[in-house]
Symmetry: C2
Amino acid sequence: MTQTTNTSTSNIVWHTHQIDKAVRGSNKGQVPRVLWLTGLSGSGKSTIANLLEQKLVAQDKHTYLLDGDNVRHGLCGDLGFSNKDRVENIRRISEVAKLFVDSGTIVITAFISPFTADRDYCREILEDGEFIEIFVDTPIEVCEARDPKGLYKKARSGDIPDFTGIDSEYQAPQSPEITLQYQDESAIDTAERLYQLLVAQGVV
Amino acid sequence: MTQTTNTSTSNIVWHTHQIDKAVRGSNKGQVPRVLWLTGLSGSGKSTIANLLEQKLVAQDKHTYLLDGDNVRHGLCGDLGFSNKDRVENIRRISEVAKLFVDSGTIVITAFISPFTADRDYCREILEDGEFIEIFVDTPIEVCEARDPKGLYKKARSGDIPDFTGIDSEYQAPQSPEITLQYQDESAIDTAERLYQLLVAQGVV
């Protein structure tokens, strides 16, 4: 296919400045952030993250949700579940989250992300205030009773080795921006409460 | 930090459907795409890509530009320039481009991306019509005369091995959506021409 010259019909003003994070965020009417949910399998990260995204979109925010569904088979499809691969998994997710922040987006992540150093990596590559660590602090007994994917059962029977909380460590955040209980309330009420906390802290 | 329960003050309607690509694109008033610029070093990819992004943003589009500046030190910082690493580099960029499309964004990429199979990989993981291959078809003599970063000089003197167009192959696209000459016109006129072509083809 060949192109035609068409500039003679153009009367468009060209910008002389590069498009950067500030411009992209401003055009979206928001300050870009990473809302990083961390917690055990079954803690409710994905459920809360999905509801939070719906809430933010209803408030005309521009969001994206990174979770196992959209990165494990694509960007991180070459990685397994060894500690080394888990570290690389979270590193890549952190770098992608940074790109989304650079695009002006509020990005929500929902990964167990059990290691403090990995979560801190994401905090460190972002600018101050951009990384919001949200600890979904559900006791393992509750997670195991929920066991939505039957993973705890498999882990207990030895079918899944290195399962976080069973035979692999979960390093709970020591000073997260938000600690969220998700136990006695409904998912919607919990997500609403998280949203109000984010508003109160000036995050969104 | 602890959270407070605040749902009693809430009167917000919760959406019951998941936020997906269609919703995100619709909220941005656009159809998400990957505008994939390919061409030799010095062909003008980055210059045209930057100007095109400015143009699209001026038209209230939501865009993101992926180029060496923002992926080579971050997401792909562990990769070198061997053929194997180059393939992995473009694979990751393709997967990230897909995530941005899923977020409703028009993503522009500016990489040499010399191998047909790698560009086709990105086309294949996207839906029909989302991948727009733009061949910046600048003759190597012109690229080498421009040599904005002095790379051709270094390649000719042997300081950079496996340099595309010198001692590493550039596989020109056989049926790109757009072939763009960038030789005799100014960069702005060329980017304007590209924009008009994208409009004419219903891409943006």
